[in-house]
C-alpha cells in the first residue's frame, strides 16, 4: 500500500515515515502544500495523510484542488486544529478522516488501515486467498493456520495483489506502488519478490495463487 504524508514538521515527517514504512507501507514524504499537491496528482496513493497548516499551499487548498480535479484518493487530515468547526470543515471539503495532534501512532496506523480497506471495499482486516489468510492488521500471513514468514516487501506485494485480486499489474506498476516514488530500485526487485513469495505461499499439488500473465504482469486468483 502506498501512502503520501504531507507535513511541514520535518521531525514528525521523519518519524511517521519510519513507523509507516516499518508497517509495510510505501511512504512518500513531502514538507509543503505545493509539492504535496504535485505528488498526489502524479502518483496513485491509497491514502494521503495531510497536515492543514502547510507552507505555500494550505492543506485545505490541497484537499479542495484534488477533489475539484476528481481525485478520489482517501485523505486523512492530521492537524493541531481541534475545534469542531475545523474538523467539520475538513470533512465537508472532502476529507475522509480527521485526526487531531498529538495522536497515538497506533491510532493513526489503524485509521490508515481502515481507509485502505474502504478503498478496496473490504470490511474485514482478514483477506483470504484459497488456503492463505492475510491479517492486514498484524501484517501476518498464514496457510491453514501455519504462519508464513514473509519479508516486508513480499508482504506488501501479496497484500496489494490480494486487495485487487484478478487484476493484472505490470512490474512497473508494482514497483511504483510498492516503493517510495523517489526510490532508486530496478525492476528486478519485483521479480525477486515474486519469486520469493511464490516459494513461500505455494503448496505442492495446489493450484498457484500468484500467477503470471505473459507480457502483462502478475495477479492473484
Amino acid at each position: 500500500m502506498k501512502i503520501l504524508v504531507v507535513e511541514d514538521s520535518q521531525r514528525l515527517l521523519r518519524s511517521l515515515g519510519q513507523g509507516l514504512s516499518k508497517l509495510g507501507y510505501a511512504v512518500d514524504l513531502v514538507g509543503d502544500g505545493e509539492n504535496g499537491l504535485a505528488f498526489a496528482e502524479t502518483y496513485d496513493y491509497d491514502v494521503i495523510v495531510l497536515d492543514l497548516m502547510l507552507p505555500g499551499l494550505s492543506g485545505l487548498e490541497v484537499l479542495q484542488r484534488l477533489r475539484a480535479r476528481g481525485r478520489g484518493t482517501h485523505i486523512l487530515i492530521l492537524s493541531a486544529r481541534e475545534r469542531v468547526e475545523d474538523r467539520v470543515n475538513g470533512l465537508r471539503l472532502g476529507a475522509d478522516d480527521y485526526l487531531v495532534k498529538p495522536f497515538a501512532f497506533d491510532e493513526l496506523s489503524a485509521r490508515i488501515q481502515a481507509l485502505v480497506r474502504r478503498r478496496y471495499q473490504a470490511k474485514s482486516p482478514i483477506l483470504r486467498l484459497g488456503p492463505l489468510e492475510i491479517d492486514t492488521a498484524s501484517k501476518q500471513v498464514s496457510r491453514r493456520g501455519g504462519p508464513l514468514h514473509l519479508t516486508p516487501g513480499e508482504y506488501r506485494l501479496l497484500e496489494f495483489l490480494a486487495y485487487q485480486r484478478g487484476r493484472v499489474f505490470s512490474q512497473e506498476q508494482l514497483l511504483e506502488h510498492l516503493h517510495q516514488s523517489d526510490a532508486d530500485v530496478s525492476s528486478n526487485v519485483v521479480e525477486v519478490l515474486v519469486s520469493g513469495l511464490r516459494r513461500k505461499i505455494h503448496a505442492r499439488g495446489q493450484p498457484p495463487i500468484l500467477r503470471t500473465r505473459r507480457g502483462f504482469g502478475y495477479f492473484v486468483e
Partner: protein
Amino acid sequence: MRSLRTRLFVYVAGGAALLILLAGVGLTWTMAAWLQKEFDRGLEAKARALVALTEEEDGRIEFDFEREHMPEFGDPAGPEYFELWLADGALIARSPSFDLKEETRRGTLIRTLDPAITPEFHDLRLPDGRWGRQIRIDFIPRVDTEDAQGETTEAPASAAAPSSGRAATLIVARERLRLDADLRRLTVGVVVFAIAFMVALAGLTQAALRVGLRSLDRLTRQVRALDVTALGTRVEVEAPPREIAVVVEQVNALLDRLEAGFKRERRLSSDIAHELKTPVAELRNLCEVGARWPEDRVAIREFFQDARSIALQMERIVVHLLMLARYDEGREQIHTTRVRVADVVEAAWKPLARAAAAKRLEYRQQISPTLCFDTDLDKFQLMVANILANAVAYSPPGTTVLCASDQTDGRSSVSFTNRAENLEPQDLAVMFDRLWRKDEARTGGHNVGLGLSLVRALADLLAIEIVTRLEPDQTFRITLCGPDDGQNRNCASTSTPQAPVPPGKAVPGKK
C-alpha cells in the same frame, strides 16, 4: 425596569395634563367670577334704580314704585324681590312678589340692619325656596324740594346732609338659576375640553415618542441582537439624531475593539495550540515508533536527537513566555545606566554575523558614536538582538541590513532597516502580538513568534517608543526612539555590553 418611553410619556402627558387642569381651573374661576360680576352689576343697576325711586318729602320717605314699570318684581315665573327699610327698622316698601305666596309674606330678605358703606352682595335662599343673590345698599333718600320758581330740585340720594338724616336700606334679590346654569355649563365645558385635550395629548405624545424614539428602538433591537458569535455585526441607524449618533459611534468602536480582541485571543489560542501541540505530537510519535521498533538503532539515535531539539524548542517557548509574564507584572528591576547605542548594536550583531554571511547579507552600521540612551543595558541589548535576529532570519539573501541613528525634533532614535518580502502594511498592527507569525503554517520550530512581543514588552518597560514602517518597495524599518528627552548625551562614562544577547540561548524572531 422602567421604560424610557413610559417615563417620557408620564412626564410629558402628565405635565401637560397638570397644566391643562390648572388652566381649566383658572379659566373656570375667572369666567365664574366675571359672570357673577356681571350678574351683580345688573343687580346693582336695578337696586340703584329703586334707590332713585326713594325720596324724602316733608319728612316722609316716599317710594315711587310702579309695578307696571318693573313687572319682574311681580312675575310669578321668576320674581325678583326688594325690601326697603329705614334705619330704625321700619319697613317702607316691599316688592309685590312677596305677596304671591302666603308663606313668604312673613319672610324678609334682610337679616341684619347693620349699616354698610358699600353695596354688599350675598347668596341666599329666596322666599320661594330658590337660590338667589341679594344686594344691600345703605343710602340717604334724596330730598324733594321746590325752589323759588316753583321748580323741583333733587339732592343726590347719597348726600345725607340736607335731609333729615334718615338712612334707608334697600335689599334687592333675584334668583340665580341662569347664573348657576351658566357656571355649570362653563365648568362642564372646561372639563370636557380638558378631557378631550388630554386624550388627544396622550395620543399625540405616544405618536411623537414613537417617531422620536424610532432611532433608539432600532438601536435597541440591534444591540439586543449582538452576541459573541456575530462580532462582525455593526450597529447601523439611518440618519441618527445627535444623541444616538454618539452611542452608535461608540458602540461600533467598542465592537471593533472587541472583535479585534477576540480575533487576537483566537489567534493566540490557535498559535499556542500549534506551537505546543506540534512538538508534543512529534515527541509522542518519536517515542511510540521508537518503542515499537527498538532494534533499529540508527533510527533510535536520530529520534533522540530530534527529541533533544524538540525539548530545546519548547524550553525557548517557555523561557520567553515566562519573561513576558515577568515584564507584564511590571516587577522587573530596571538598572538605568548611560548606554552607548553603537556598542550595543555592534555587540548584538556579532553572534548573528555567521548566519548573515550564509545568506550573503550586507551589514551597515551608521550610528553616531555619541548617541547614548539612559536605559537598562541588558534589556536594551535584548531588544536590539531580537530585532537584528529577525532581520537576519527574514531578509532575502543578498540584501542589506542597515542600522542608523537619527535625531529629529530634538529626539534621538536608532532604526533597523531590512527587506521583508512578504510583509503587508496590515501586519504592522499585529506583528508585536504574542506568537504572531507571518507564516500561518508556522513551519519550523526556531522562530515561534515571541521575539517582537519581547521587544514590545521591553520597550514598554524602558519607556522606549517603537515606530514601524513598511515602504512600498518592501523595505521594513523599525525605529526605537530614546527613552530620555532626546538629547544626545555625553557618552564619556557608559556601560559597555559584555556579551551578546543571552535569553534562553537563542533569540526568537518573527515577522
